[in-house]
């Protein structure tokens, strides 16, 4: 409770009994009883433990919709809790996250993405949230937008002046079907640009391996 006074919950008049059932019985595997809206609405999960998000979603209704999107952290499955990332009892950081900035939080689990790299991708170094949304997304890999559109928000790949990727503006003509005489461009399919630029979080490959273009 060190930073309770600085947190948003205190500011918004949230009190202990808004979340805690002071005289309730803790659920299986729990030492504290949390309040939830009942009856719960959930797909089948393999845990019988009390799920924290059911308490948080009582107020944060938009997060309820997000964590049930096709791409999500395993929150509804009980493997990630809201309090793994946020401190509901107050924090100095924005959104009451447990670390100073979002990247420090994301990289505490996704340690394989933290580098250091010879070739850095600046938006990655600055904020994971430029490309990813943490609670849930319609798009694979919790992306805020689907490639290639996401990449094109910064990289104008169709410009002749950018070299290399000339005239590869991707639209629906790239869709492959059994009757089309055209083959598909894999700059459109699936992960789009990331089909080749897979080391998008950073690379230590030699320049000859196009590490600076995040392909190796």
């Amino acid at each position: 409770m060190a930073f309770w006074d600085s947190g948003k919950h205190k500011k918004n008049d949230v009190s202990c009994n808004n979340c805690h059932s002071l005289h309730g019985t803790p659920g299986l595997g729990s030492t504290i009883a949390l309040k939830t809206s009942a009856p719960p609405i959930s797909p089948y999960v393999t845990t019988v433990r009390q799920l924290e998000h059911e308490t948080c979603n009582t107020c944060h209704k938009d997060k309820r919709a997000q964590i049930m999107k096709p791409s999500h952290h395993p929150i509804i499955e009980g493997k990630v809790k809201c309090s793994d990332c946020h401190n509901p009892h107050g924090a100095l950081s924005q959104s009451m996250i447990k670390t100073e900035v979002p990247n420090d939080l994301c990289l505490s689990c996704h340690t394989d993405k933290r580098g250091p790299w010879i070739h850095e991708h600046p938006p990655v170094a600055e904020s994971c949230l430029t490309c990813h949304t943490p609670h849930g997304s319609n798009h694979n890999r919790l992306l805020v937008m689907k490639p290639p559109q996401l990449c094109q928000e910064c990289h104008r790949v169709s410009a002749a002046s950018t070299g290399g990727h000339t005239a590869t503006f991707v639209d629906g003509r790239s869709i492959r079907d059994a009757t089309s005489a055209s083959s598909v461009t894999t700059r459109f399919q699936a992960s789009g640009c990331v089909n080749c630029h897979r080391q998008i979080h950073g690379s230590n490959a030699a320049s000859s391996g196009w590490g600076n273009a995040f392909v190796r």
Binding site: M68, P70, A167, S183, R198
Partner: protein, 754 residues
């Protein structure tokens, strides 16, 4: 498995140890519940390529890869693959002075969870745990390689790399003969903590855990070193281990708190590169060796000090934090992937020499934060805050000489550009309670981000300034309705590009800006309502409307509009019947402007603007009920329907309607991320007596996925980039169609004791 075998005795020993320690603890009472049962699942994954024959090359024969199914999505974070025994154990011991808890579920499964914790009230507490997680990404993907999961992918035979129809006679170009592999990760986290305070304001705490992640993940890569040669999907081995050790010690009282924390986190990857035979770089008699580097090892060390001082004048509380961390690694650059072309039949023939034989990576971050909350006047509360964060890259700059030998395709590359940034924000929140039922709030914040790189033009603005203002009003005057309305405005101004960037045709801020730094005005409205219009009836509603207008740039993102509506209804008496329902609806629209052709040229058939319109929706409906049918029998269940849609549409200003850039006269819209899911979850519980209960359940799930971008993402075919079919693409089909239909049945007997 070894971990599990080691950990279970430790966790069980914990129970006995605490039992012994609690022998003198008067009134120690055990309670708990043990459940054992059976679970059966039946899942049918949809086929990947139903009705979608693959054309080997334009006008070439259609080849159908083997029809495989993918049931990974059903098992994404749940180990439901294996039917059989399931069980839970929950034991709690409570004494006057001490307590102990043990909980376990999904034992010996990939989502096993074991937890033991206990302590003596006010003196010490501890916890030991093991939390396993499975992350099934996609099953039954295809690869022409042997050795999926290892660090070396090989072919057994020869490869015709021409991409011609004749190549299909080669078995390695025929997906029907390829190997299957699953992309799946198993994560195993075990650790614990011990905290000692000994009934004093002082405390110390030690935390330790180790996380291992093993499996295969998909990784794409271009043939040779150019995406113009087409891509290939590679099954990539994962064998990570992260160890975290931390210490925290401090002093806590009602007046305040201060603590010091130290963290050491090491990341190890036992497979640092993936080698694979690259047919596009063959000599005709042998394949070139391609190398893709895998995540590097690293060590993070961090120290922080937190403090809070309460009961200051004006009922103030001052809180602060400072922290410093460094992330380091050291990598010798003599290995294959660090100096060579990465794709070469004779790798030594195309070496680009790095400027140093070793890369010493070092990222340093520093943070300072302050927050002062006060009540300077009756009914007025304030919060003044300031945060500062600095991220500096002190890694060894590595430059490369031009490639030598043959083929020499690589030009010299100047030193890697270390990226640094500094972020500071400061703000003031005000809240004024007009009376017991009305509260007004408002605030301002200014945030500045300053970025620097080495010698290259910065591809983002040097600085970005955000000014945020908000107002909110909360009303609890009505017995049956509470409400809160908030409006927030953010103005972002970016500028100060590097001089060379401003004139570069590649990076021209006058025409385009990275989306995360583009200038914008953003308006956000949020309304929250809670109502109890009748006994046993609760209603909740939330609406968020956010528009972001980007300005000052003719190209790049122009507009983003988001709407979210969430409604909840709950009615019922817990002793009789309760029902809850919710509806969530989200709509997102974004517009971007781009150009095709020569930058800055007059509009023509080949030089023109394109407007992209992106649209996505998410609809969610849930219904749940519980019903105590009889004194010993309860039923509960829920149904969830969710649907996502997405589409991308185009308009353009080209004077032409035919040609290489157009197909049937225009740019063709496409649909993405169209999914539908139905999930039914029913459970009945019969209480036999005060000790025994029987629980049975049935769940049904149907998930449908359709995405134009995944059509044909499977097999071998000519690569179109652009209008050229001389190259090849080898695609695994991973994620192509995760649709499934599944039934789950389970029956459990639970014994409760106290």
């Amino acid at each position: 498995m070894k971990t599990k075998l080691k950990l279970i005795p430790i966790l069980v020993a914990n129970l006995f140890a605490v039992t012994a320690a609690s022998a003198a603890d008067g009134g120690f009472v055990w309670s708990g519940e043990v459940g054992v049962g059976l679970r059966g699942t039946n899942v049918d994954g949809d086929a990947r390529n139903v009705g979608a024959g693959l054309r080997a090359v334009p006008s070439g024969p259609i080849v159908n890869p083997p029809t495989t199914t993918d049931e990974a999505k059903f098992n994404e974070f749940r180990d439901l693959e294996r039917s059989g025994l399931i069980g839970t154990i929950d034991i709690k011991g409570r004494g006057d002075n001490s307590y102990v808890d043990f909980f376990g579920e999904n034992i010996a499964r990939d989502d096993q969870y074991l937890n033991a914790q206990g302590g003596q009230y006010g003196v010490f507490k501890y916890r030991l745990y093991n939390d396993k997680m499975t992350h099934n990404l996609s099953w039954n993907a295809l690869t022409p390689f042997a050795g999926a999961g290892s660090s070396n992918l090989t072919y057994a035979g020869t490869w015709d790399a021409t991409g011609s129809a004749a190549a299909l006679i080669d078995s390695h170009n025929n997906p029907a003969t390829w190997n299957l592999f699953d992309t799946s990760l198993k994560r195993n986290n075990y650790g614990g903590y011990f905290e000692l305070s000994n009934n004093s304001p002082w405390y110390i705490r030690f935390d330790a855990n180790e996380v291992t992640t093993k499996g295969i993940r998909p990784m794409g890569s271009p043939f040779t070193n150019s995406s113009g040669n087409g891509p290939i999907d590679l099954p990539t081995p994962v064998d990570y281990k992260t160890r975290n050790l931390s210490f925290e010690g401090g002093y806590a009282s009602k007046r305040g708190l201060i603590n010091v924390s130290v963290l050491r986190s090491s990341f190890n990857n036992s497979i640092d590169h993936l080698s694979w035979m690259d047919p596009k770089w063959s000599t005709g008699t042998s394949y070139g060796t391609a190398v893709n580097l895998l995540p590097p090892i690293s060590v993070q060390e961090k120290v922080g000090v937190n403090g809070t001082l309460r009961q200051l004048p004006l009922s103030s509380t001052l809180s602060g934090r400072v922290s410093y961390s460094q992330l380091t690694n050291s990598i010798g650059l003599s290995g294959l992937g660090y100096v060579t072309n990465l794709n070469d039949a004779t790798p030594s023939s195309s070496t680009t020499s790095p400027s140093s034989s070793q890369f010493d990576g070092k990222i340093v971050t520093s943070n300072a934060s302050l927050s002062l909350t006060s009540n300077p006047a009756k009914n007025l509360d304030t919060r003044l805050y300031w945060n500062w964060y600095d991220r500096r890259n002190d890694s060894t700059p590595i430059s490369y000489a031009a490639g030598t030998g043959s083929p020499t395709v690589i030009a010299a590359l100047p030193a890697g550009q270390p990226f640094n940034y500094r972020k500071g924000n400061a703000g003031l929140d005000l809240g004024y309670r007009i009376d017991a039922a009305h509260k007004l709030g408002g605030g301002i914040e200014r945030k500045e981000v300053i970025r620097t790189v080495g010698t290259a033009p910065l591809q983002e603005p040097v600085s970005t300034n955000d000014n945020t203002y908000y107002l909110e009003y909360k009303n609890t005057a009505l017995d049956i309705l509470n409400g809160r309305l908030k409006y927030e405005r953010i103005n972002r101004a970016s500028g100060d590009y590097g001089a060379s960037a401003a004139t570069s045709t590649v990076i021209n801020p006058g025409f385009s800006t990275a989306m995360d730094t583009a200038n914008f005005h953003q308006d956000r409205f949020k309304l929250m309502l809670d109502s109890n219009p009748a006994p046993l009836l609760d209603l909740g509603f939330q609406a968020i409307y956010k528009t972001t207008d980007y300005h000052g740039r003719p190209y790049g993102i122009q507009r983003d509009k988001r709407q979210e509506y969430d409604l909840s209804v709950s009615y019922g008496d817990p002793s009789k019947f309760r029902v809850t329902a919710f509806v969530d609806w989200e709509i997102v629209n974004a517009e971007d402007n781009w150009y095709v052709g020569t930058f800055g040229a007059a509009t023509s058939a080949t030089d023109f603007d394109v407007r992209t319109s992106q649209h996505s929706t998410n609809k969610l409906f849930g219904l749940g009920a519980d019903w105590p049918v009889a004194s010993r029998f309860t039923l509960n269940g829920s149904y969830i329907y969710s649907k996502t849609d997405g589409a991308v549409d185009f308009t353009h200003t080209s004077t032409a309607t035919t040609g290489a850039l157009f197909y049937q006269g225009g740019l063709i819209p496409f649909n993405t991320d169209n999914t539908t899911k139905h999930a039914v979850n029913l459970k009945g519980k019969y209480t036999v007596d005060k000790n025994w209960a029987v629980t049975g359940g049935y769940a049904f799930e149907r998930y449908n996925y359709r995405d134009d971008q995944m059509n044909g993402f499977n097999g071998y075919y000519a690569y179109y980039a652009p209008a050229s079919a001389t190259n090849s693409a080898i695609l695994s089909g991973a994620f192509q169609n995760p649709s499934y239909k599944a039934h789950i049945f389970y029956l459990m007997a639970n014994y409760k004791f106290q």
